[in-house]
């Protein structure tokens, strides 16, 4: 529906003042003697716009024949369905108002209120959306006339001539860019990007310190008291008298330090005389035996599982098994916490303990090996 263009330049769909070069201003300023376009600016009237759509462009589709029926087959049933759908939407609206009311009336600030508010808000909101979904589904399935259309697929592969044209365009561009012909530019450009490519890795270096040998040690040292985790009290063997029980302890001064406790957490277990099957002489960790492993049949093991570092916190006093709740590595407490089942490979390291002058349990030295999961440098 566009103008005729006497100069014959450009796209005929464009108004002349755009294609014609030096002209400027309004369409009303057309030089005389030329055919003015029908409409140059402004919004076409709706009727024109409607007819324009399918014709737009040069090879646009012809105005489509009607593909979708306008109405369902059974108007009486449709009337009924209409009411059902509307009812769903009205109920959805009511549920939505219910949500707003619940928000305003049920406060939070206590466990019970938070629970009630959650149920009221979630119930009303869920119901509103459920009804919207149901209403819309009934509408589509029963009110919109059933239709099944078919469309052709086209192979994903481009036509040979398009591929050829693409190749030419690409090669022309490559040649014009001189990128292929001038290797020194190419190579120096690639060389320039190499340091930039690794620069981000350098920038990430300060994400953390290097591990060094920090994984090998804990804060335990000779003389630190074993404080009960939770109360913070020191412990005498007499206070810890019931055989078969397990207590979590930590080093004096570090109970509130999560970083320290993540490696230094220790469990102590009291046995009956004769239950421990190892002595200072035949300890299952060969070659690293130190004195004073136990005091009064009390044994101290690292609580940090040698598999993946979870606290090995479950203890069965019948079998003397320490069980890690994460992956079920099982350690025998009477045999130096050696692994009896599960994925852990090493015993829980044992902390040598003794008594200080006031009779409280103390560490007689650090662990003689790294605690926690295996790592590359551990050896």
């Amino acid at each position: 529906m566009s103008n005729t263009n006497p100069r014959g330049s450009g796209d005929s769909a464009w108004p002349e003042y755009l294609t014609g070069g030096g002209q400027s201003g309004q369409g009303a300023d057309q030089p005389e003697g030329r055919a003015a376009p029908h409409r140059v600016i402004g919004t076409p009237p709706p009727a024109a716009a409607r007819t324009m759509l399918p014709d737009y462009g040069q090879d646009g589709p012809a105005p489509p024949a009607r593909e979708l029926p306008a109405d369902p087959d059974d108007p009486r049933r449709a009337k009924k369905i209409e009411k059902v759908v509307a009812a769903c939407f009205i109920l959805a609206m009511l549920a939505g108002f219910g949500f707003l009311v619940a928000y305003g009336t049920i406060g939070v600030g206590s466990i019970v209120k938070a629970r009630n508010s959650n149920m009221a808000l979630g119930g009303t909101l869920g119901l509103a959306m459920l009804l919207l979904g149901i209403g819309a589904t009934i509408w589509v399935r029963h009110l919109m006339p059933a239709v099944e259309l078919s469309e052709q697929r086209h192979p994903m592969k481009s036509d040979a001539k398009d591929v050829e044209a693409f190749k030419e365009t690409f090669e022309e561009g490559a040649e014009a860019s001189q990128f292929v012909k001038r290797p020194i530019i190419r190579r120096s450009l690639i060389a320039a990007t190499i340091p930039l490519a690794v620069a981000p890795l350098f920038l990430l270096r300060d994400l953390g310190p290097l591990p060094g040998d920090s994984l090998d040690t804990t804060v335990w040292r000779k003389g630190l008291r074993l404080l009960v985790y939770g109360t913070g009290n020191p412990l005498t063997p007499a206070e810890f008298s019931s055989p078969g029980s397990l207590v979590s302890v930590g080093p004096e001064g570090y109970l509130d330090d999560d970083d320290a406790m993540a490696k230094a957490a220790v469990i102590i277990i009291k046995f009956r005389p004769g239950q421990l099957s190892f002595t200072n002489a035949n300890h299952p960790v060969p070659g690293k035996v130190v004195k004073n492993w136990t005091v009064d049949n009390i044994v101290a093991y690292s609580k940090i599982c040698t598999h993946l570092g979870c606290p090995a916190a479950l203890y069965d006093q019948n079998t003397h098994h320490i069980l890690c709740p994460c992956h079920q590595s099982t350690f025998d407490a009477t045999e130096g916490a050696k692994v009896t089942f599960g994925p852990a490979t090493r015993p829980l390291p044992q902390l040598p303990i003794g008594l200080d002058s006031q009779g409280y349990l103390i560490a007689m030295g650090p662990f003689n090996q790294p605690v926690g999961p295996s790592f590359w440098e551990r050896g």
């Binding site: 938070a114 959650n118 119901l127 589509v140 259309l149 994984l215 709740p325 295996s374």
Partner: protein, 565 residues
């Protein structure tokens, strides 16, 4: 009408600026094939949208900080307890923000649904062969999305810094440490030093709310665009061929249906969140490295990884003062690596083995690819055993079975289970194919016995109706590979030479194993010429590959690899 005029005015205004009329018209009439299993992908998209909405809400109150605070708030059981700001702000969202608990629970349920729907969607795509050419790229994007989802979920549920998720982070740290050579460095860089430190929550936060969602969003966009551009696959049926797409147009049908489905997904999640408690972090307590409770389970999508860690025997090498912690890094990487890596390679492996490089837009029924289906079920079985083993303590507790017995069963099961699953599945598929053949060749048994004048009794059958027949006859035979032994020159054709050629020939026999093709169509051989012609034997219709607009071709006839060059 004024509404009409306003719409037209707006449309015209936009069109003059965007040139949209033709494109948008085509879009409105775009055909979407329908099948219930196609909804699985929509569930993923909608849970993702819901995750973005609810997640944004949560960020308004959540404090990603590991600074210690003493709690004084509405949740009285934890009054006076030392905890991180992250945990305290999560309690605040739960008990002091109206709707906070609801949105938190919707967010968590939506994450679980997101992952569950991805798994179901992947399974659907695999078993129907919808990953085949030209959709391999979308298949790979899907696998990347699944992997990203695992990390996104892990990082997300770690943010509240509660006791349960803290154990998950501890395990994450242990896994990182186990990697040879770089392990301790990775762990120290991620955590900013020794575990737990004060960096991990803020770092996971920015990964969880910005970096990973941005990548997921970008990949989802590409995934959907490719689905749109390549047009959705369709299930076999009457009038459906490899060269057409049959269904209802997007406007108004698909738009209304999918809109309704969005509301269903949102409603299901909201109702779950209202009435089914999930991740009650206030019961777990704040994280500390000393405490842990029994029955610790990660979210379900991490269960297979958890099971792999539990199943592993205590193997480790110490070699020149360096530790190879096979007990950790092997189960952390290998089982999911096999499943996801295998899934990624399968489309290309299948193409190489069968020599089938044609486009496939008509889905396979799972029975019609018995080996593929059997491999898929074997993988699902392996995954399922690992997943169940991830809850071995819960199983032992509830069923009163020995924990060690369950672990040993799983240790054997991961090797035996997939093999049994493979054999059984393949038999079932072949049996179903024979049943289909019977229906095609002899029709449906009616139960009516007739006596012939000769005295003979016969059972009457009636022909399968066209709708079903189209489905039953959708199977295509694989074209043969070029023979390894060629008599005239003595040189095998390309792609069939040497050991690789012999291997390919053997694999071809396994992968294409099927019941024989049906011989007749119950006298209806010409009643369904709409694309299900039985011309697969001719081998001359390269329907879509050759670019010829073929209306008669059934699912395209695979070309030999060598014809491509």
């Amino acid at each position: 009408m004024s509404v009409d005029r306003a719409l037209e005015g707006t449309g015209t205004w936009l069109d003059e600026r965007l040139h949209g009329a033709r494109g948008v018209r085509v879009l409105l009439r775009k055909i979407f094939p329908d099948h219930w299993s196609f909804l699985l992908g929509e569930i993923i998209l909608y849970s993702f949208i819901i995750l973005l909405l609810t997640g944004t809400f949560l960020t308004f109150w959540f404090q990603p900080s590991m600074t210690d605070v003493i709690y004084h708030g509405s949740y009285t059981p934890l009054n006076g307890v030392r905890m991180s700001e992250a945990y305290a702000s999560t309690l605040n969202i739960t008990f002091d923000v109206r709707g906070g608990l609801l949105i938190r629970q919707i967010h968590h349920w939506a994450a679980d649904l997101f992952m569950a729907a991805i798994m179901a969607h992947m399974i659907r795509v695999f078993f129907t062969g919808a990953y085949r050419k030209p959709r391999e790229i979308n298949w790979l994007i899907g696998i990347v999305l699944f992997t990203l989802g695992l990390f996104e979920g892990l990082f997300g549920y770690s943010l509240p810094d509660d006791l349960l998720s803290g154990a998950g982070l501890r395990i994450t740290e242990g896994i990182l440490q186990s990697f040879p050579i770089v392990g301790t460095y990775l762990a120290y860089f991620l955590f900013g030093g020794p575990f737990p430190g004060h960096e991990i929550i803020p770092r996971l936060y920015i990964l969880h709310v910005l970096v990973i969602p941005a990548v997921i969003l970008a990949l989802v966009t590409v995934h959907l665009f490719l689905m749109f551009h390549q047009k959705h696959t369709q299930m076999p049926g009457k009038g459906r061929t490899n060269t057409n797409v049959v269904g209802a147009p997007m406007y108004p049908y698909f738009m209304a249906k999918t809109g309704a489905f969005f509301f269903f997904v949102f409603a299901a999640l909201t109702i779950c969140a209202a009435f089914v408690q999930v991740n009650p972090i206030w019961l777990y307590g704040p994280y500390n490295p000393v405490a842990m409770s029994a029955d610790s389970q990660p979210d379900f999508y991490m269960g297979a990884l958890e099971g792999a860690l539990r199943i592993m025997p205590s193997w480790q090498w110490v070699f020149f003062h360096h530790t190879f912690a096979f007990n950790v890094f092997v189960p952390a990487l290998l089982p999911l690596g096999i499943i996801l890596g295998g899934a990624a390679m399968w489309p290309f492996l299948e193409q190489w083995i069968t020599g089938d490089r044609t486009e496939h837009h008509l889905n396979d029924r799972p029975r019609n690819a018995p080996t593929r289906t059997a491999i898929g079920i074997a993988a699902v079985t392996l995954y399922g055993i690992l997943w169940a083993e991830g809850a071995n303590d819960v199983l032992a507790d509830h069923f009163d079975v020995s924990l060690y017995a369950i672990t040993w069963t799983a240790r054997v099961g991961i090797f035996v289970g997939p093999v049994i699953a493979y054999i059984i599945t393949k038999r079932i598929c072949l049996g179903l194919q024979r049943k289909d053949n019977h229906l095609i060749e002899h029709g449906v048994e009616t139960g009516i016995i007739r006596q012939l004048p000769t005295g003979e009794f016969i059972e009457e059958t009636r022909p399968v109706d066209e709708e079903h027949l189209a489905v039953l006859t959708s199977r295509v035979d694989h074209p043969p590979l070029p023979a390894v032994e060629t008599t005239d020159t003595g040189v095998p054709p390309r792609g069939m030479r040497g050991g690789a050629g012999r291997l390919r020939e053997r694999l071809y026999k396994v992968v294409t194993e099927s019941a024989p093709m049906p011989t007749s169509h119950n006298g209806h051989g010409n009643g369904h010429a709409d694309g299900h012609g039985n011309g697969h034997a001719d081998g001359d219709q390269h329907a879509i590959e050759s670019g010829a607009p073929s209306t008669a071709g059934g699912p395209g006839h695979p070309e030999q690899e060598d014809e491509q060059h």
